[in-house]
């Protein structure tokens, strides 16, 4: 057996160490390991058992990790195996990062049926989606049927996570009404479920009011109103309802075929982005093309040739146009 097929076999038999190693390979920036990853996926093949992928997004401090902790434990109690892939912000200065997710998921991290893996977002920016997607597939191969992808609510992460999962759960802070009204429309549009967290003590009333006004605004903007749940992960209220709603959402999407449609569209997007990444790599890594690109860029900067013309000529070097 080759290294790749051995590792693939170990992943499929539920070996945690093998799964962790395989995710490392998928995240690696070394080209030689890329080949290995392709081989691993080739020997894993298609996994038939159904899984449900949930993206969890929301502003920092909304309590996403604590919510996943409680939600995950409930799901495990109901028979699931849960994987959490957490994507943390990265210090732009040096590429290092502090990954503290497990400190906020103490109960889940002690569960034998849970696998939590925080990933640094350093390295190739455009490639993050692809790497996370591979990590999701590896977790599914290892038998995890409920996958949470947790992102931090900065920049484009909400829209990006929507291209990787079957369902986007937006976590908002109870009693922070202004925050919702000032939130980017895009974030609300990708949400399939909304949870107002930290609705405990004297914040319950404010959270109920926020939820009502969000439902009203949804009914104007989207027609179909996604479930909006008021809960407290800390007090464990409303979490069972959320898990129920998530499960129903998954079952309905699978039954009416929308889940498969979504995944198929996502595969198409990954293909597109992989192709774009590949092209970019060609023009930065292959010496002759990199040189040509630099020269073309200089000419464009000087104004001696138009940007679109320079790009067309450069691409023609790669694939001579049929005449």
């Amino acid at each position: 057996m080759t290294v790749a097929s051995e590792l693939a076999h170990a992943v499929c038999s539920g070996d945690r160490r093998a799964l962790a190693k395989a995710i490392t390979l998928a995240e690696s920036t070394r080209p030689s390991e890329r080949e290995l990853v392709e081989q691993i996926f080739a020997s894993i093949g298609q996994r038939a058992a159904p899984s449900f992928r949930v993206g969890v997004t929301g502003v920092p401090g909304a309590g996403k990790s604590t919510l996943i902790d409680v939600l995950g434990c409930r799901a495990i109690a109901a028979g699931s195996r849960v994987a959490v892939l957490a994507v943390d912000p990265s210090s732009r200065q040096s590429g290092g990062s502090i990954l503290g997710d497990k400190t906020r998921m103490t109960r889940l991290s002690a569960e034998p049926n849970a696998f939590i893996r925080p990933s640094p977002t350093s390295g190739v920016l455009g490639g993050t989606a692809g790497r996370t997607q591979e990590a999701i597939s590896l977790c599914e191969a290892a038998g995890y049927d409920l996958i949470f992808v947790e992102t931090v609510g900065v920049g484009q992460s909400e829209e990006r996570v929507a291209t990787m999962v079957d369902c986007v759960l937006l976590v908002l802070l109870a009693g922070a009404g202004d925050e919702v009204s000032s939130m980017k429309r895009g974030v609300l549009e990708v949400a399939d479920l909304v949870a107002f967290n930290k609705a405990d003590g004297d914040r319950v009333a404010a959270a109920d009011a926020d939820a009502a006004s969000l439902r009203a605004s949804f009914s104007i903007s989207r027609g179909a109103v996604p479930p909006v749940i008021v809960l407290s992960a800390l007090a464990d209220t409303g979490v069972a309802q959320l898990l129920g709603d998530l499960t129903r959402f998954g079952a309905a999407a699978r039954a009416d075929g929308s889940l498969e449609l979504r995944r198929s569209a996502q595969r198409r997007e990954w293909f597109d982005s992989a192709l774009e990444e590949g092209l970019h790599e060609l023009f930065t890594q292959r010496p002759d093309l990199a040189l040509a690109r630099a020269a073309a860029a200089d000419s464009v900067a000087k104004g001696s040739v138009s940007a679109s013309e320079a790009a067309r000529r450069l691409l023609a070097q790669l694939v001579p146009a049929r005449s």
Partner: protein, 717 residues
């Protein structure tokens, strides 16, 4: 008309300019970590606008002392904090200390007790008897105070998490000595807010924890008129890296929150406020520490009067215990610590503390030995009896500099308090992570200043000793203590009436559930029936749940001190090279094993390594070796760093290495840092630890060794 006479300040600037050969006198200004600009000379102009300068000691706002006569009628109490191993061993230590001139006792409990676990609980195997004495029941407490009359010896107990069963055991022990609660004098720390901020020996979530605090204040108010029901502590904040304005501000803000909790219980401010006490650190910032204690008294009086308008002036008086700083002690050339402690003790006394603990010179390495404990105690005896410090009240009163500094620090602390109050009070501010973040930023800055040599520490980053003296350190055989405690627990459980224990615990659970009834009263009944500390804690956890700690970290702060530093840039370049070889950043899991909640060191190191380009996973606190091993495997790290401050490493680190091997991850390297006596090193290396860092290891050197380890193991592949 003659020209106006120049002011003192103007005159000084003129003279200084001449002495400095034209250098700008402004360059003499020192910026303190608190952000206060210290001028070279202070004068009468600096006193303008300061109120109540003419108030006597014993007069509002008590800047010069809460009582008029202060030490001239009663010197400060020499109160040394101690406890280790079994109750018998600690008892013998206490008796020797009392015979040698100590005035009151102060009990240190082990971490298993703090966190409400009996010694035979599987989570605490590495912690029993290590950083304090192991107490599981009233029987242990009776052994601890055997032959010590509790009616006439004041006892302070540092307990916050398992405060109910411990205080209850003390009350029952006194009762069985024939001493009623009304005659007990001393202090229970009972300050849970700072535990959530820095020290981390909490058990329950914040809301029920605050109820426990209020129940204890209520019980003490009704039954223990001579007893301090709380010791509102800034000590651990400064130890965790807080600057003095933060220490003072956050501590007084905690105090306001406790007052509100007690008022909500229906108590009158004058019933309980006179029994609130405080606890501050005194570090090496000599003048600022004196100013802090003076400012603390005045600011507290002002705040309590403004907000709660008590009728009894005793409600305005801030009384405090002080302890010299533990983090200022160095492992290198440790006899220097005698000098540090003396200077710190001086500022506590000049600031007007009511009682004082002086640290022993070997505490950066281990628990105090008999010899080092004696010298620590003698430090205070010498100050009291030989140096004449108790002969005058507030000798700094009226000093231009000291009065101005007192006011400036007070203003800064007030700004901190205003920020906390605007966030909705301390409980809310803690929820939002506000104080933790501020303290950690300050801690990271402090570490960077030391590592860069901006702050000089003799024997550590300058003036190294040619050779380190050999010291005899106290070592506690944790396994022997564990064995003894197990045996006793078994005997206790066999002898006691199980039915009585069960029904007492049922009452406790019911009180917890309904919110009615006093939890301390119920805990006293349970301990009297010979329930254990672990059983009482577990009964409450059945209702309240156990709280898991939050870890906040700052990034970029440490690295920013090294901008433009060639050695730092070289380290970054090595990380970058390693990154291309590994295909990812070097990755390290920073973990805490056992019940030790001191996480400042772990977080500062994590922050610095991340600034260098490492990916650092932070594990939850209070982990077992098996849990840490699994996290290391799941995150596929290259290294596990164990931060240890309480001696549990001897047992738990070898177990961790075995657990890693069990999971097929023997290639993950384990390194340790923290308070590790050199005597422990051979055993750690033999168990397979790759590197051991002492308490004063500099971060850049630490990082260089970690990189060398990774570079080497990668070549070997």
């Amino acid at each position: 008309m003659p020209a106006a006479k120049p002011s003192t300040r103007e005159a000084f600037v003129e003279l200084a300019r001449a002495e400095l050969d034209g250098r700008d006198p402004e360059t003499l200004i020192t910026q303190t970590p608190e952000g206060i600009a210290l001028r070279a000379l202070y004068s009468a102009e600096d006193l303008q606008g300061i109120q109540h300068l003419d108030a006597s000691s014993g007069q509002y706002p008590f800047r010069r002392g809460h009582r008029a006569t202060m030490y001239t009628s009663r010197p400060w109490t020499i109160r040394q904090y101690a406890g280790f191993s079994t109750a018998e061993e600690s008892n013998a230590f206490y008796k020797r200390a009392l015979a040698a001139g100590q005035r009151g006792l102060s009990v240190a409990f082990d971490l298993a007790t703090h966190r409400g676990y009996d010694s035979d609980h599987p989570r605490v195997s590495g912690d029993v008897g290590k950083a304090g004495v192991a107490i599981d029941s009233v029987e242990d407490m009776k052994r601890l105070f055997d032959g010590i009359p509790l009616g006439s010896t004041s006892v302070s107990m540092t307990m916050n998490g398992a405060v109910l069963p411990i205080l209850a055991s003390y009350i029952v022990t006194a009762e069985e000595q024939g001493v009623p609660p009304a005659r007990l004098s001393g202090t229970i720390q009972n300050d849970i807010l700072k535990e959530f901020m820095v020290r981390n020996t909490f058990i329950y979530p914040p809301a029920p924890s605050m109820r426990i605090v209020a129940d204890i204040i209520e019980y003490a108010t009704l039954h223990m008129p001579r007893y301090n029901s709380i010791s509102i502590s800034g000590y651990h904040m400064q130890e965790a890296g807080a600057t003095l304005d933060l220490e003072l501000g956050f501590t007084l803000a905690d105090g306001l929150e406790y007052i509100r909790a007690a008022l909500a219980r229906g108590l009158n401010i004058d019933q309980f406020a006179p029994r609130l006490s405080f606890f501050f650190a005194t570090g090496m910032n000599f003048f600022m520490e004196i100013a802090k204690l003076r400012a603390a008294r005045a600011l507290w009086a002002e705040l309590v009067r403004e907000r709660f308008a008590p009728a009894d002036t005793r409600s305005l008086e801030l009384r405090t215990h002080c302890q010299t700083s533990g983090v200022s002690l160095t492992a290198q050339d440790p006899l220097n610590n005698v000098v540090r402690t003396t200077v710190e003790a001086l500022s506590a006394v000049l600031g007007g503390t009511q009682s004082l603990h002086t640290n022993a010179y070997d505490e950066a390495l281990a628990l105090p030995s008999e010899r080092s404990a004696r010298i620590a105690r003698n430090t205070q005896l010498i100050l009291q009896h030989e140096a004449g410090l108790a002969q005058v009240v507030d000798p700094w009163g009226g000093s231009y500099f000291m009065e101005a500094l007192t006011q400036e620090l007070s203003d800064r602390a007030r700004a901190v308090i205003t920020e906390v109050e605007a966030a909705g009070g301390m409980a809310r501010a803690i929820e939002q992570g506000l104080p933790k973040r501020r303290i950690e930023e300050a801690a990271t800055r402090r570490q960077a200043r030391i590592d860069r040599g901006v702050d000089v520490i003799v024997g550590v980053n300058a003036f190294h000793a040619p050779e380190e003296p050999a010291l005899e350190l106290r070592a506690v055989d944790g396994r022997a203590v564990l064995q003894a405690q197990r045996q006793r627990l078994q005997e206790l459980r066999e002898k006691r009436a199980a039915g009585a224990v069960e029904s007492a615990l049922a009452v406790l659970r019911e009180h917890a559930r309904s919110g009615a009834g006093n939890l301390l009263e119920a805990a006293v009944s349970a301990m009297r029936a010979r329930a254990t500390v672990g059983e009482v804690s577990a009964a409450l956890a059945d209702v309240f749940g156990r709280y898991e700690g939050r870890v906040h970290t700052v990034q970029g702060v440490y690295g920013s001190y090294y901008e433009g530093d060639a050695a730092w840039a070289a380290l970054r370049a090595r990380v970058a090279t390693l990154r291309t070889v590994l295909g990812r950043n070097p990755r390290l899991l920073m973990a805490k094993l056992g019940q030790d909640g001191h996480d400042r060191g772990a977080k500062v190191v994590a922050s610095a390594l991340a600034d260098l380009g490492f990916d650092v996973d932070l594990g939850p606190m209070f982990q077992t070796p098996a849990e840490v091993a699994r996290q290391a495997v799941d995150n596929d790290v290259h290294l596990v760093g164990i931060s240890t401050q309480a001696g549990a490493h001897v047992t738990l680190v070898p177990e961790l290495i075995q657990e890693l091997a069990k999971l097929g991850a023997a290639d993950v390297r384990v390194v340790c840092g923290g308070i590790i006596p050199s005597a422990d090193e051979p055993a750690l290396f033999a168990a397979g630890v790759s590197l051991v860092f002492g308490p004063a290891a500099k971060l850049p050197e630490m990082a260089a060794k970690l990189l060398a380890l990774l570079e080497h193991s990668n070549e070997a592949e």
